[in-house]
Point group: C2
Chain length 136, copies 2
Amino acid sequence: MNLSHIEHLGIAVKSIEASLPYYENVLGLKCYNIEVVADQKVKTAFFKIGQTKIELLEPTSEDSAVAKFIEKRGEGIHHIAFAVDSVADALAEVESKGVQLIDKAPRAGAEGLNIAFLHPKSTCSVLTELCEEPKN
Amino acid sequence: MNLSHIEHLGIAVKSIEASLPYYENVLGLKCYNIEVVADQKVKTAFFKIGQTKIELLEPTSEDSAVAKFIEKRGEGIHHIAFAVDSVADALAEVESKGVQLIDKAPRAGAEGLNIAFLHPKSTCSVLTELCEEPKN
């Protein structure tokens, strides 16, 4: 598998509004997009730093996976997302190596990317996402 | 503050030896350095992906901060490290903005970097490190 870079880091927060002053005023990053991802029941806020985005994830519902993460572990880094050329090819490759998949096929994620998640049971306990820029 | 990129991500693992097959054989990354950082009571293993390193952290003692992290939260992403021009200047700036510091002054970290940690109480619950390449 050819991972070119870390596409983004997902960070679970209770409130994007309450977190923005730290990211913008202390770290000096600029939030360039806020987007609701309805099927994941989260509101997301994006910052760019070098090759990588930071994606804040605020649950929009108590039964959101991010709400459950915060309830269990508190706010903090939720997942790492690697950029690949083809999510479908990467899924086939890692599945052939015994990795348990959360998503059996690529699906639409935030910012128009094709994404899929791998199960942390197979990834040294780090929830891991693969991302691909859509080909147009 | 001018953060140029994410210098590394620290990931707590119980065993580097047990984690290497995932990082090398599944993700296709290459471990280029294994180093003991005695004063942090960890063994570290490094991989590079784009601008960013992944640093696996294995505790070498039960009273290591990483051992306590694993005991409390399990294996997983432990901290994020941003590259800055000057850790001393960055510490002064963030302290003036009310951020609680773990390290009041830069100290030596793995791979010859000057580093300092900020307290997660002030960083939206994400243990945060600032790193600077030493000037020679």
